[in-house]
């Protein structure tokens, strides 16, 4: 662990997108590439001004494909690199998100989600990308995605995203949305010496044929460019040395499975949830912005004598199946709240339906924040 070099320590009142940008600065981010898009633009705009002040570079690319590619290139050049966009940009990035997964490249991708499909509504938040970030690139892989519920968490979880990216050599998503991206709230930034950062491990042996650079479930040190390490990096099927191998089935198997296992075997260290459902008869299962409505609804319910708890998934990927199973084994009713048509609902049901009743509730109008009273109505119906 090293300590952050810079942080605007103090209490601030600002947007989630601002908090995200300052979180990245505190995490030592020194390369950002992006293409303008609502409701994510403020992160890029602010970074364009802020990064050069701390010795970093902001590149406005010709499209989101170039953004993700240059960020991966910069990471291999030794930078802590980030790109920021919204759903349409994620769609364009997907092929090269797979490249980052396959080449085990640490990068952070901020998705300030908006209402879709397609161009949809730029300024309205929705949790429409929660499955596409995990399943949108072709082939088979696992992803890590964190879901903030407030501007404060856009700061905290951006730092955590960088730390996870460096620890496991993976791309990490921060799944914000237009609501918390644009919401202004109190943000407390601790002094730099209280922010722990994970340092990148780099190998010392000069010959790649005598090192393991890839496919290590325990995470191989990263042979970054420019140090005479003669790294060979390809997203085509490769062996432990990074050398292309398009003929051996055993290598193909490891090429797909080891990066998956790298994440799954560290699931316990990666997954973070908030559980508040002791003695509850019903638990509201949420992630991201909707968690705020869920807490308000649980309070309303308890005031009326209903035993309602909450389970918030801070990590949505890898999927926190253990936490879901635990809730299902202790509580008879699970109500899943999502600002979409029910994207994580099938995943949650698959883990919980054997042990408890699982239902879904979207907001009255997609893209609008759940009304706590509407949640309460549904709770009463389930507990009746």
């Amino acid at each position: 662990m090293i300590k952050a070099r810079t942080a605007l320590a103090g209490t601030h009142f600002d947007m989630g997108n601002w908090a995200c940008a300052e979180g990245a600065i505190a995490a030592g981010c020194n390369f950002v590439a992006g293409y303008p898009i609502t409701p994510a633009s403020e992160v890029a705009n602010y970074m364009a001004k802020r990064l050069p002040q701390v010795g970093g570079i902001f590149l406005q690319t010709e499209d989101e494909i170039a953004a993700i590619c240059s960020v991966i290139g910069a990471s291999w050049a030794g930078c802590r690199a980030l790109t920021v966009t919204s759903g349409p940009g994620i769609s364009l990035m997907q092929e090269n998100i797979g490249f980052a997964v396959s080449t085990e490249t640490p990068i952070v991708i901020i998705d300030v989600q908006r209402l879709g499909p397609s161009t949809g509504v730029p300024s309205i938040g929705m949790a429409g990308d929660i499955v596409q970030v995990a399943r949108g690139s072709h082939g088979d892989y696992q992803i890590i995605a964190l879901c903030p519920e407030s501007p404060q968490e856009m700061f905290d979880l951006t730092i955590r995203a960088f730390n996870i990216a460096e620890t496991y050599r993976v791309p990490v998503f921060l799944m914000a949305d237009g609501f918390i991206g644009h919401m202004r709230e109190q943000i407390i930034i601790p002094p730099a010496d209280q922010i722990d950062l994970v340092e990148r491990r780099v190998p010392t042996v000069a010959d790649p044929m005598k090192r393991q650079d890839f496919l290590d479930i325990g995470v191989a040190p990263m042979p970054v460019f420019g140090k005479g390490l003669q790294a060979h990096v390809t997203s085509s099927c490769h062996d432990e040395h990074g050398m292309r191998n398009l003929t051996e089935p055993a290598v193909m198997h490891r090429y797909v499975m080891n990066p998956i296992q790298k994440i799954l075997t560290h699931r316990d260290q990666i997954v973070e949830v908030r559980e508040d459902y002791v003695n509850a008869d019903l638990v509201l299962v949420t992630y991201g912005t909707v968690s705020r409505s869920a807490r308000a609804a649980a309070r309303l319910a308890r005031n009326q004598g209903l035993r309602v708890g909450t389970l918030r998934l801070i990590t949505c990927w890898p999927f926190p199946e253990e936490a879901i199973r635990k809730a299902a084994s202790r509580v008879n009713n699970l109500l899943v709240l999502e600002n979409n048509s029910g994207q994580l609902y099938p995943y949650i049901r698959a883990e919980a339906a054997h042990a408890s009743r699982v239902e879904f509730l979207g907001p009255q109008f997609l893209g609008q924040i759940h009304d706590p009273n509407a949640i309460l109505e549904k709770v009463k119906e389930m507990l009746a």
Partner: protein, 277 residues
């Protein structure tokens, strides 16, 4: 026993004992031109990062060259290389890829890198076809030629890459054919010493796919075609367009000085640091 070792073998990864190119392919000539340029400039492989896309030409550095090598997705090497160069401005970042990779799927990145004048040396292998995927029409395929995706003859016009990249803003652009290995080596050397975006377009033979589609024949016939149809740019400038139909204009298309992006960033960051003190 004293085995004869190729003088450029020292630039290759020791464990790589063969290349993937077909016999007669122009990729071998370009490989030698690149490595000779590096040798003649007395550069070390540790001074380089090689970036390539997807295609036969993209396999020129990957995994052959004993240097940091980033083999990327189809069409994107210039975008990846832009991030590498901004992160390692003191290194030579060389992109080696095909005409389909760099001007079809990746055309946008190429013109924007030229516009930014970022210090990349791009060796673009123009064989007029998609070699790797089996001879489909490329944006560089001459009009009228029948390929597997234009079986009745291509109805489309082709790109004239070198002047296009001049218009996009490159500091150095040259075009040579594989029949001009010495001039090609010299152009790559110039590209490597140029502070700015350098494109070296290599008009090259794919005897397997293009040879068949164009009915030009094998490697030797295509090379002879290059020889008899190449016109120096100085001479071409005095010819009228009708005379130039079907000709390959070779030489230096531009060689200018203008601010390079990665050093401009270094300068900006430096001046902001000074300003704070």
């Amino acid at each position: 026993m004293n085995a004869t070792v190729h003088p450029l073998r020292k630039y290759a990864r020791p464990h790589v004992t063969r290349t993937t190119t077909c016999p007669g392919c122009g990729n071998g000539i370009a490989t030698q031109a690149i490595l000779r340029a590096i040798e003649e400039l007395d550069l070390r492989m540790d001074d380089f990062v090689f970036v390539s896309g997807i295609g036969c030409s993209a396999w020129i550095p990957s995994p052959f060259f004993a240097a940091d090598t980033l083999h990327t997705t189809h069409g994107r090497p210039v975008a990846f290389a832009t991030g590498v160069k901004l992160g390692l401005p003191e290194k030579h970042v060389m992109v080696v890829s095909g005409d389909g990779d760099l001007t079809a799927i990746g055309g946008n990145h190429l013109i924007h890198a030229a516009r930014r004048n970022i210090g990349l040396t791009v060796v673009l292998m123009n064989n007029g076809i998609y070699g790797m995927t089996g001879g489909q029409t490329a944006p560089t395929t001459p009009r009228g030629i029948s390929t597997v995706t234009s079986p009745y003859g291509s109805l489309e016009h082709s790109f004239d890459i070198a002047p296009m990249i001049v218009s996009a803003g490159a500091a150095y652009v040259a075009r040579w054919t594989t029949h001009h290995p010495r001039q090609l080596t010299k152009a790559i050397k110039k590209g490597l010493t140029k502070k700015g975006f350098a494109l070296i377009e290599v008009v090259t033979q794919c005897p397997v796919q293009f040879g068949r589609a164009s009915k030009l024949g094998g490697a030797v016939e295509i090379l002879k075609h290059f020889k008899s149809n190449s016109v120096r740019i100085e001479k071409a400038r005095k010819m009228d367009p009708a005379e130039l139909l079907g000709k390959i204009v070779v030489g230096e298309f531009v060689d200018i000085e203008k601010p390079e992006l990665s050093s401009e960033w270094t300068r900006l960051i430096h001046s902001m640091r000074e300003g704070r003190q």
